[in-house]
Amino acid sequence: MKKLLLGTTAVSLLALSSWANANTTIELQRFFGACEAEYGKTTDVSAAVGECGIITTLVNKFEADNPDIDVKVTTVEWPGYDQLNAQLASRSAPDVVSMHYSAMSDYQSRGLLVPLDKLLKDQGIKATDFTDAAISSVTKEGKVYALPFDNWTMLFHVNNNLMKKADLMKADGTPMLPTSRDELFAQGKQFNEATGKPYLVQVLANETATYARIFYTLMMQQDSKFFADPGHIDLSGEDAKAALTLMKNIMDKDLSTKNMDYPAAVSAFANGAGGIAVNGTWLIGSYDAQSKQANNALSDGYSVFPVPQFFKQKDATYADGHGWVVPRGDRSDEKMAAIGKLFKFLYDNDYEWSRTGHLPTVKKVIASDKFKSLPHRSDIAKIATTGQALPAGVLRQFAIQDILGEELGSAVTGNKSIDDALETAQYRINDLLENI
Amino acid sequence: MSASISIKNITKRYDSVTVLDDINLHIEDGEFVVFLGPSGCGKSTLLRMIAGLESITEGSIEIGDKRIDTLPPGQRGVAMVFQSYALYPHMTTRQNMAFGLENVKVAQDEIDRRVNDAAKILEIDHLLDRKPGRLSGGQRQRVAIGRAIVKEPKAFLFDEPLSNLDAALRGRTRLELAQLHQRLGSTMIFVTHDQVEAMTLADRIVIMHNQKIEQIGTPMEIYQHPVSRFVAEFVGSPPMSMLPINNIQQTANGVTVEVSRAGSIATAITLPPEFNAKDAVIGIRAEDTAVVSSEEDGLDLTIKVVERLGDRTLLYGTLIDGTDLIAEDSGRSKVKAGETVRVSISPHAAHIFDGDGLAHHSQMEV
């Protein structure tokens, strides 16, 4: 009888198992994908490729180095904030969570994140060790709320082999990229006629984030102040119309692949289905690795560049970054210390993470030869200065991104007029922000 | 073991509808009483009230000298056999019979003894380990009776227990029930709408009609001296023919009634002075008629249907005025449909019913 009554408690206790062998367990929740099958057991970080492979092996390595600490990893669907919200609401959030800088204000402003100043200080990590861009992104009201892990932007990943075929290569062996809107359409047409393939490989299906990022970039290039007031978006201007018109024209003139969702777009580019993939920094490592193998579409023909400047006003590109946060909750000192060790380990291995293609956040990694000698990094170096985020005071950036992406998508695919889409997007976003 | 049952001033109402109205009945210890009546007359309700399955609005019920209408069904000491038998489908015959005894914690060897005894009496020993689903209708019926017997109740209650059996089996079981009653000597109450069952089984029959007891009596009393037109028409097969009375003439032996244009019938019935002649009828059973030669007194009957039963022949016909009459002839009758025959009526056997349905009989026994 007693057994029966204790049943459920016992089961959950056993599951945690930390109690049994006196180890400290850190529950770590992240996106970046699941690749247990390939990397589940390996601790050889340097052999790993791609976001998932590198973070998985990093954690494995940390566990191997610290036998008294178990890291229990939960992989969530990107970006995983609905799940985190449910967890926070039920006071069962994990110990460490991956989070975009752009999402942090939401949680920090409601006191849902633990400040990490002391934890980092105990590990000998100083704020000045990080790039200004990174540390300022995670600092709110004078306190640091995340271990900044990377900065990223959208890029033009180029298939040089196809560009060569379209006669779009410069003498120095780099591809010819457009420097204006007119050039974009001209070169796109040229590419398409020569190869029979679309010029751009874009993620346009079942995705909202890429639409929003490109749109932000185009707005920022016009030096638009669409978030002059963080509680209010302004999409009524000519700038918004110009940005969206450009996005729509790309589709209308058949410059881009259609109907591809994220995985389809990623593999389509890898299989040579188009000239330029518009996607994030995180793919550099994987595509570069592929280009070093023989007999595939990218063999010996991959390069990568920032998104070109399509508007004269400003050379800018939308940027964000990933950090590691600790949600509020009751944690013992031992556990906090273990989390500190994990953060120190991640900090120490920021270089390994930067092999994905992300920009490192640690100054000395950027300065290191090791990093500088990574391929393509010099080609995209300027994003460190041109990268720009939304104002920190803008809350619910992921919800905004969803709304914006949905409406932009409607316009791009021709289901709504441009004016209609922008108007609805503005209404919905402002309704959201006004009712927080 | 067995006991008498007293029903006193029982009334049953559902909201404003009265189902039983002031019923009084005393059943002797060991008596076999049959409640007979058309469906809806309240006979089953009365039985279920004795069992405790229906509540009583007014009145009381005693078994022996003990008032039992406040007790739950299980503690009244009665056993019931249902029309559908109501065997527990998931229990074997043995478990079905033992279940009630186990409920009251009878010792296991006593249970075994009683079950085996009952099974022997009912000749179902070989069925003890079967479940009801694998028994025939007749076998289920026996098990249901067996389940009642093992309880050694003060009274047995039967709720139309034979109606689900085929005709042949019904006849046999009827006989066996009569034997069982003799053998056990228990008080038994039997509800039926079948007059043959009632006539053959009952010590006394209780005829129920319109929420009331119409008549209580031995089968012969009921048959020969029905107190009312209802009882007369309900009991007997074929039913009693009813001829409207036009005129009544007092004679030395009784009254002679004139039946429309068809003729008159002499009877040995004496009517009281306050007799209500309006809508009065004379009732004649088929067996009290005879086909006679055309010279003799009688009524002329035009035969429409001839029903040959072997030992006798029933003649369904109409009188000149169109009234229906059923007459009886011998088994060797040569009457054919379409013929007109003369029918005589025994003067002592006729019954006269006044406008209120109240019966008047000849004082002489036939």
């Binding site: 299906a205 079942n206 259609k258 969702d261 389809a264 289901n415 | 399955l53 229906e54 509540s55 739950p72």
Partner: protein, 293 residues
């Protein structure tokens, strides 16, 4: 007063106490609490403030909610008749005792036991561009590929295909059971009357299972109004919200936008819609029967 077993006793009520306590705490109370929440400005992490019907006003004036309602109505309007007619067809075709029929019955019902995530996983891998089964088929025949999950119009259709594939078993089974209940002598009488197959179907079979058809329709309407998992996992409501059902709207408002109050308001509206749809159906069916009688 005489007492008998029919007499009402409060101890008899003890039998319903376990269920009633669960019913009250987990259904009735949350229903009331949900209504209360819908009248408040409240987010996932607290902060209740009474604002009256403002949440309802916001939901009803939200074009996205309107779109979700429209999507859901279209989905119900197409998927339910499909399920009923297809289920009826299968039941008629497989109402035999042969081995082949019983195998097919088992096959058509088998998908019902799979969980929604498996079903959507299967159908996503069928519909994905380039690598999916449909893409291969279209490629083989040289047809223009269709973005089943990413084109307005097709996305809701694709969700519907997966749903019908998943749900067809139950209607078929219910119809089969109803067909078995039709007395055999009706058909014998029809055969003696020289009735054609079609007349037997329309004059005997269908009228005999009329109540089952209604039952299946009501069950399916209530079920399909609650569409969520398929849409969320296959299309995430896209593109441009063209496959977002009401339930997904509620989920997004509550757990993506933290707005519990507004989510609760949308829930109550959905509740009303389902109630009205079921009652309308019931009303139509009973009214029809009256005129038939």
């Amino acid at each position: 007063m005489a007492e008998s077993y029919r007499r009402s006793r409060w101890t008899n009520g003890l039998f319903v106490v376990p269920y009633l306590s669960v019913f009250l705490t987990l259904l009735v109370f949350p229903l009331g609490w949900g209504i209360w929440l819908s009248l408040n400005k409240v987010d996932l992490f607290g902060g209740e403030r009474f604002i009256g019907l403002k949440n309802y006003a916001r939901v009803l004036s939200d074009p996205i909610f309107g779109q979700a309602v429209k999507n859901t109505l279209i989905f119900v309007g197409v998927s339910v008749p499909t399920l009923v007619i297809l289920g009826l067809f299968l039941a008629l075709a497989l109402n035999k005792t042969t081995k082949g029929s019983s195998f097919l019955r088992g096959l058509f019902f088998a998908s019902s036991i799979l969980s929604v995530t498996i079903v959507t996983l299967i159908w996503r891998i069928v519909f994905i561009p380039n690598d999916g089964l449909m893409a291969l088929i279209f490629n083989y025949f040289g047809w223009q590929p269709i973005g089943f999950l990413s084109t307005t119009g097709w996305s809701l259709f694709s969700v519907g295909v997966a749903t019908v594939w998943w749900c067809i078993g139950l209607p078929m089974m219910l119809f089969l059971a109803a067909l078995q209940q039709i007395p055999k002598d009706l058909y014998e009488a029809a055969a003696l009357d020289n009735a054609s197959r079609w007349r037997v179907l329309t004059r005997i079979t269908l009228p005999s299972i009329k109540s089952t058809i209604m039952l299946v329709a009501i069950i399916q309407v209530v079920m399909q109004f609650q569409l969520f998992g398929q849409a969320q996992l296959m299309t995430n409501g896209g593109p441009a919200g063209s496959s977002r059902p009401i339930v997904m709207y509620i989920y997004e408002i509550g757990f993506l936008r933290w707005d519990i109050g507004m989510g609760a308001a949308a829930s109550q509206i959905l509740f009303l819609i389902i109630l009205c749809a079921a009652m309308l159906q019931y009303w139509v069916s009973t009214r029809k029967e009256e005129t038939d009688a």
